[in-house]
Amino acid sequence: MRITCTVNGRPQVADSVWAGESLLYVLRERLGLPGSKNACEQGECGSCSVYLDGTLVCACLVLGGQADGREIVTVEGLSNGDSLHPVQQAFVEAGAVQCGFCTPGLVVATHDLLRRVPRPSDAQIREALAGNICRCTGYAKIIDAVHLAAGRMGAA
C-alpha cells in the first residue's frame, strides 16, 4: 500500500508498504530518517518517540497505515538547519549523551515536556521521562540537561 504523510514539514510518500510495517520502520527504512531508534519495538524504551499530529507517541506502536495523511515530527525535525534546538544543545553540554541510542527519543520527549511544563521540577521530569530508558548515563545528566534547556528556553 501507499502511505502519504508530512514528515518534518515535508510531504512524503512511501510505496509498496507491507501492511504490518510500523511508522518506525517506514521512517527509518523507507523515508531515510533513522534518527528515531529501534531499541525494543514494544513501547517500553521510548527511543522511537516522535510527534504524531502534535502528540508524543512511540513510532513503533503506530501502524504505518495509521500515519497516512498525518503530520509527523521526528528528532531530525527539531533543529533549525545547522543550529541545534536548545534541548539538543543542552543534552550535548550537560554530558547527557553517551552511546546516544536513547538520545533522540529523550530529546523529543523533553521537547514535549517543556512545551507543557516550562520549568519542571525533578519529580515532574522523572514522571514525564519514565518511558525513556537510558542504559548508559544513570539519568543524572539527563535531568541536568532538562533543567539547562528549561532555563534557557524560559530566558529566551
Binding site: 501492511a19 504490518g20 510500523s22 519495538e41 513501547g43 506502536l61 503506530v62 501502524l63 514535549d112 518511558g131
Partner: protein
Amino acid sequence: MEFLQPTSWPEALTMKAAHPEAMPIAGGTDVMVEVNLDRHRPAAIIDLTRVAELTEWGGEGDLLRIGSGVTYARIIDELGDRLPGLAMASRTVGSPQIRNRGTVGGNLGSASPAGDAHPPLLAMDALVELASVHGSRRLPVSEFFIGPKRNAARPEELIAAFLIHPASGPQQFSKVGTRNAMVIAVCSFALALDPKRRRIGTGIGSAAPTPVTAADAERFMAGVLEEAGLWERPSEVDASAIARFGELVAAAARPIDDVRGTAAYRRHALSVLARRSFTWAWLEYQRSA
C-alpha cells in the same frame, strides 16, 4: 495482511462484519507489540483511529458514556475529577507516550488479566457496549472477561464504549510492580466507595485468569458500614474489620506463579493494598463528610 481503515462507525461495523477475523487496532500498544515481535500475524487489521465517534464522551442519564477510543491521557485530563479511580489507574499505564495513544477500549479488547483499566471498571460496575451491523448490546464488565485474554465480544462485534457512574465518593487504585514506573502489574487493586448507592466496589487485576471483583469483601465492608451507620456518621472503621476486608480481597484472587511474581506474594500484596486503599478512601470520606 489486509489493512482496513474505516472513517465512520457504520463503515467500521460493515467492515468488521465482512472481515470477522480482522484484529481491531486503536493505540496499537498491544497489537503492534505482537506484530513487531512476530508473535502474531492477523489476517487483517482494522484501524479505528479515524472513527471520530469513538473518541467522544458525554452523559447518558446518570451514566457517562465514554467512547472506546478515548485515550488514557484524556481520561486523566478530562475525566479525572469524575472518574478518579480510573484516572489513577491510567496514570500508572506505561509512559506518557503510551498514555497518549492507548485507550480503555483497547485495554478491554486485549482483556489481559493485567489490564490496568479493568479493576476500576469492575469496582465501578461499568458496562461495556458492543456493536455490530445487527445492533448493539451492553453487558456488565464482570461478564465481559471470559478467560485469559478472551472477552465476550462476538467476531462481528466491535467495542463501542463503556458506561460508568461518575464517582459519588472516594476511589483508589494501587498497583504492585517491581520498578517504580513503566511496569505491568504483579497485582493491582481498585476500590470505589459509593455513598450514594451505599456500595463498596472492588476490582482485582493480575491475580486470576481474568480481572475479578471481591464480592465477599464488598458485601462484608458494606455490611460493616451499614450496621454502624458509618455512611451517615463516618467515624473510624475498626482495624479488625479493615484487616478482614483485606483477607477477603486476597481470598477472591486465584493467582499463579509467573515471571512477575509468586501466587503467595500476590495474595499477600492484595490484602495489603486492600487495607491501605480502604484506609485512604475512608479517611477522604471522613474529611469530606
